[in-house]
Structure formats: structure tokens, C-alpha cells
Amino acid sequence: MYDSIINVAGLTVELGGNPVLRDMDLTVSTGEIVAVVGPNGSGKSTLLRCLAGLQPATSGEVRVFGEPPADDAAFWSRVALLTDEPAWYPGLTAREHLELMGAVHARARMTVDAAMEMFALVERGDSVPLNLSTGQRQRLSLAATLLRPSALLLLDEPERGLDADFRVRLGDLLADYAAEGGTVVMATHDPGLAARSRQVSPSGVAA
């Protein structure tokens, strides 16, 4: 059906007349972890938004799973996207957000208890997400993203707000995910996370 999970050819994106991405090529195959690196404003997030089908390309072609990405349920059942902090549902605790995620997906990758343990949220399970610290909220977002089954993870700065120990732990979790056959594309400023991945800079030149 398709050889590689992601195929980007000659991708150019202009935002308000400014070229953000210019003639970018990228191929990602199954089980790879790709780190999109580069200075602020180099188009890392824009590339992720193009891959998620949320940003139309000015020219060029983007194919995910062999077809252009579409913002629909079939696409999101295979792709898990984590960019900015999501808006939490009112009236639910942190744990209940994970329970909801587990209840909606038939074959969750781990139990809620395991996720609470893994992301060190056990003590704060009964808190409303807004009462958690920035790092804890990011861990909750990551837990929700990794709890659900997916074939492709798109992460925008997953290290945001995390302490040094947990950044290392996150690298392990992503390696486990890839070992299970998943593919990861993330924009990151963390040298540790980038070192464990194939590095790509949005100008289209692989580092």
C-alpha cells in the first residue's frame, strides 16, 4: 500500500507571505524516531502541523500512510498529536481523563494504573488538571497520548516543563513505543532526546 509512513516532497509553506518551509523533503519509515531540530522560527511546528493535515501546503506534497493527511476520525485513530496543552474537560480529575482515554480506545497500550505509575501522577490523580504544575500537566498530556493505541506519534516539544530525570525517562518510553512498531516525529530542543533520534532540520537538509 505504501512503503514509508511519511512521504514529504518539495514542501513549501508560506504564512502571511513569509516562507516558513522551503522545498522540504522527508521520508520516515516504520519504527523510526525522527527529531526535527532547529532554532526558533525555523518551521518545526509548521512541519508537524502539515503532517497532521492542519496546515495546507503552499506547494509540494505530503503523504501520511500513503495519502494526504485528513482531519477526520479515521486519521486520528492512527495518529496521536500532542502540541500545546489541550483544554481539559471541566469536572474531570486527572485520572478520569486517562480513564476516558482508555474507555474510548478498545485496545489501550497500557492500563490507567500503569500510566499513572509510569508518569508519576499517582498522588495527584484526584486533582483537576488545572491544579497540577506545568510539568505535571505535560506528563498528563504525554500519558494520555501514549496510553491510546496509535501508529504515528507527532509531538511538538514533548520535553516542555519536564525535569531532567523525566526527560531521560521520556526517551526510554519513546524507544519502547518505536520498538513496538510505532513511528515518532517530534520537534525538540532537548539535546538528549535529539541524540537518540534521526535528526532532521526543516530546511530539508538532514544533519
Binding site: G91, L100, D126
Partner: protein
């Protein structure tokens, strides 16, 4: 303090000139000239006795309005400062009472206006058998005294917790009064109150003035004792309101209130029921609602309002619109998940349930809520008609018509409008923020900003469309409602199904 105000004024707007004052006075005079004629006609219409059953319901409505006034005053602060003053002047060594005096005067004006309305309302429901002018004056003085006293109580409560008990007690007493008045227990008392001799009225009015004067003096003295913390709290709240009103959109306001509520709550996680995916997603709204039983009880306590309105002699159209609007409010309580996903679809994408299954599953709760509300409200109206007190909607079974098939038909409307109201509530939850780039239409009566108007109408439009048969039945009651019931059943289901199936893509944000 005066120096600070002078400084601020000199750097702000230019002071009012003679021309400004002339324009204000002229506008006031014009307003009086325009409103004078209708006002005097209306006041003349107040003369004469009224039906005691109507008076009971009317007094209940006035008691509810006063309780709402007290609750709103408590919720607002009521003493607050503009956000800039709160952050720059409040934490300075300026005289606290002088700083707050301006806000205090504004509160006094608000209380006086509310009191005038209350007095007029009281006279309208009790009637004036004789001496209209004196009774009007007495009612106005009483109304203003009561509302000013209420505002003073609220100010005192802001400064000390012991006064808060009094505000709560007053609110509860008003609610009890409303229940007693509407149940008809107090008919003789009300009749006596309506035809109270003038000297007693004068005594009551002067007593009320003295009591409210004392309370106002206390409140004025307490201004300097209000803790900075509560002042800051109420002032930043007002700041939120102002920013949301001018720059963002009203939808942001409800999120601030909602998020603040949940931050302050202690919750216990409970297991998620094992349901099919879309229903498991929709369960969030059910759980949120179950965690706020007070709000649920409040909204469902209001099912009696249409019956009370009808008993107070409101027009059938007003009662009918009240039933639909109340049911729509009930439906809107159960759509927070749809609103959140409409504002920020990140979590919805992680959950990965399609838009149609999610909407269909999430429509269940608003359908149940609005259906229950409207059915109860219509059943209340039907019971009222069956008792023979009044026929609130002229086609409904009144004392003359035996309550049979027709009676059953009316409350069925409650169930049948539910899908349309749920569709309206969902559309309201999914609407985009106010589009301030929409043109402003200038009319002789003033300019109309179309953006906010369209925003406000989004959702209501769909509900009205789906409820047309029921509206037709409520506004001009037919002899047999069977045909309209059928039409309502079809239009309600069609509107909801159409809304759920309409293939609009999520906004790509």
C-alpha cells in the same frame, strides 16, 4: 485622595464642559418627554383592585426578583474597583473609604433604580383600590428602602462573615415567601396589604426608610474594614468581565467561572463505565452534571416559573416562550464537552471519535434535560388549568373542558421539542467566537454590530426553527393539537438528525 483623582483626571478624559452638561440635561428632558405619556398611561392602569390569585403569583415573582438581586450583589462583590485602581491604588496608603466611595455611590444608584422597579412591580401585582398617587409614592419608597437595605446588607457581608448569615437568611426568607405566596396560603394577608389604610402605609414606609438608613450608615462605616483580599477578588472578577466584554467574547467568561469552580473543588476519581466509544466520551457531561447537583436543582426548581408567570397573568405567548427558553437553558447545561472540543479540538483529536458519533452521543443528555424540563413545566401549567384557577394558554383544558386527550397532548409537546432544543444547544456550544470584523449597521435607533448579534442568535435560530409547530401551538392555540404534535415530532427529529449528519469539518486549529 482628591489629589490622586485630580491627577488621574488630568491625564485622562477632558473634564465635562458646559456643552456636555447641556447635552446630558437635554437628553434627559427628551427622554422624559418621550416616555411621559406611556408612563402616565401605565400608572393610570394600575388603579383598581386585582384578582387575589394573580396577586399571590405576582408577589412570588417579586420576592424571587429581590432574592436574585441579593444573590447578584453578593456574587459581584458588591464593592469593587476598576481593575487599574485595584492594582495601583488599593495597595497604597490612600484612605480606603474615600477610594471606595465612588463605587459605593454607583451601588446606591443601582439599588435605587432596582427599588423603583420593585415598587412599581409591587403596586402592579397588588393593585391600588384608591388614592393612586399616595399608594404609588408609598410603594416606591418601600421598594427603594428594601433594595437599598439589601444592597447595604450585601456590602456589610463583604466586610464580615457574621453579616453573610443575614444575607443568606434574607434570601431564604424571600424564597419561602415566594413559595407561600404562590401556594395561595397568604391570600388574606395580601388582600389586606393591597387595601392597607394610608396612615399604616405611611408608617410602614417611614419605618423602612429608617431601617435602611441605619443599614446604609453601617455599610458606609464598614467600607474601610473590607479586607483587601476580597476587594481584589471582586475587582479582578469585574476586570475579567470588562475585558471579556470589550475584547474577547462572552463565551470566555463562562470558562473563567467554570474553571475557577473546579479548581476550588475536591474531587474523587471514579471508574469510567464501560460503554461504546462515543457514549464513553459523552459520559463526561453526565459526570460533570452529577458533580454539580446544586446547579441542577436550581434549574429544575425553575420549572415552576412558567406556572407562576401564568398565574400572575402573563400573556400566553410570554408563558410559551418562557417554557421553551427554560428548556433550552436546561439543555445548555449538558453540552460542556462539545463546547470544549469546539474551542480547542486537541483532546478530541487524541480521543479520535468521529464528529458525528460524538455529536449523536452527546445529544442524549441535552435531549433528556430539555425534555424533562419542558414536560414538567407544561405539566405544571396543565395542573394549574385543571385546578381551574386560570387557563394560561387559551387552548389548554381549562375548568370548562374536561382534562382528557387534550391535556395529555400539551405535555407531549415537552418531549417533542427536546431534540430541537438539544440541537440548538449543541449549535450554540459549537459556535465560533464573536466575529468583530462584521459590519456595523447604522439605524436611526442606534448602530447595530452584526457580529455579536449573529453570535447571540447562533443556536437559538436552530432551536426556533425546530420548535416552530410548538411555538405556533403556544402562540395561537388551535382547537385540536394532534396535527401540530405530529409536525413537532417530525421537525424536532429532523432538525437534530440534520444537525448531527451535516458534514462540517472541524476548524483546523
Amino acid at each position: 485622595m482628591r489629589a490622586v483623582r485630580t491627577y488621574l483626571r488630568s491625564h485622562g478624559r477632558a473634564p465635562a464642559t458646559v456643552l456636555d452638561r447641556y447635552v446630558s440635561l437635554f437628553a434627559l428632558a427628551m427622554l422624559l418627554a418621550v416616555l411621559g405619556q406611556p408612563l402616565s398611561t401605565m400608572l393610570g392602569g394600575l388603579a383598581g383592585p386585582v384578582d387575589p390569585a394573580r396577586a399571590g403569583a405576582g408577589v412570588a415573582l417579586i420576592a424571587l426578583a429581590l432574592a436574585g438581586f441579593l444573590a447578584a450583589a453578593r456574587a459581584a462583590g458588591p464593592v469593587l474597583l476598576p481593575a487599574a485602581d485595584a492594582s495601583w491604588l488599593l495597595l497604597s496608603p490612600l484612605n480606603r473609604r474615600r477610594l471606595l466611595a465612588r463605587g459605593g455611590r454607583a451601588l446606591l444608584v443601582i439599588a435605587v433604580v432596582a427599588g423603583v422597579l420593585l415598587g412599581l412591580g409591587a403596586l402592579a401585582v397588588l393593585g391600588a383600590p384608591d388614592q393612586l398617587v399616595w399608594r404609588l409614592l408609598g410603594a416606591l419608597v418601600l421598594g427603594v428602602s428594601v433594595s437599598v437595605a439589601g444592597m447595604a446588607l450585601a456590602v456589610l457581608a463583604q466586610g464580615s462573615p457574621s453579616w453573610q448569615v443575614w444575607v443568606t437568611a434574607a434570601t431564604v426568607a424571600l424564597l419561602v415567601l415566594a413559595v407561600v405566596a404562590v401556594s395561595g396560603q397568604a391570600r388574606t394577608v395580601l388582600a389586606a396589604a393591597a387595601s392597607v389604610p394610608l396612615p399604616s402605609l405611611a408608617a410602614a414606609a417611614s419605618g423602612a426608610v429608617v431601617v435602611s438608613g441605619l443599614l446604609v450608615r453601617q455599610a458606609w462605616a464598614s467600607l474601610s474594614r473590607i479586607p483587601t483580599r476580597t476587594l481584589l477578588g471582586s475587582s479582578t472578577r469585574a476586570g475579567h468581565v470588562a475585558t471579556a466584554a470589550v475584547s474577547l467574547d462572552p463565551g470566555a467568561l463562562t470558562w473563567i467561572a467554570e474553571d475557577n469552580h473546579w479548581r476550588a473543588r475536591t474531587l474523587t476519581s471514579r471508574r469510567w463505565p464501560s460503554l461504546p466509544a462515543p457514549l464513553a466520551l459523552a459520559w463526561q457531561d453526565w459526570r460533570r452534571l452529577a458533580r454539580r447537583p446544586g446547579r441542577l436543582a436550581g434549574v429544575f426548581g425553575a420549572v415552576a416559573l412558567p406556572a407562576v408567570l401564568a398565574q400572575a397573568g402573563a400573556a400566553p405567548a410570554v408563558v410559551g416562550v418562557m417554557v421553551l427558553a427554560g428548556a433550552m437553558v436546561a439543555a445548555a447545561m449538558g453540552v460542556s464537552g462539545t463546547r470544549r472540543d469546539g474551542d480547542n479540538p486537541a483532546l478530541a483529536r487524541l480521543i479520535g471519535v468521529g464528529r458525528r458519533p460524538a455529536l449523536a452521543a452527546r445529544a442524549l443528555l441535552p435531549v433528556v434535560l430539555s425534555g424533562t424540563w419542558a414536560t414538567l413545566a407544561l405539566a405544571g401549567l396543565g395542573a394549574l388549568a385543571a385546578f381551574g384557577a386560570v387557563a394560561p394558554i387559551s387552548g389548554m383544558p381549562s375548568a370548562g373542558v374536561p382534562a382528557g386527550a387534550l391535556g395529555a397532548g400539551w405535555w407531549l409537546f415537552g418531549l417533542l421539542v427536546a431534540p430541537a432544543l438539544a440541537a440548538g444547544a449543541l449549535r450554540m456550544a459549537e459556535r465560533s467566537p464573536v466575529d468583530h470584523s462584521m459590519p456595523v449597521i447604522d439605524t436611526p435607533g442606534g448602530s447595530i454590530p452584526t457580529g455579536p448579534v449573529i453570535w447571540a442568535a447562533t443556536g437559538v435560530d436552530l432551536a426556533v426553527l425546530g420548535c416552530l409547530p410548538a411555538l405556533a401551538a403556544l402562540l395561537s392555540p388551535p382547537s385540536a393539537v394532534g396535527g401540530l404534535l405530529m409536525a413537532q415530532a417530525v421537525s424536532g427529529v429532523l432538525v437534530l438528525a440534520g444537525y448531527v449528519w451535516r458534514g462540517r469539518r472541524k476548524r483546523a486549529t
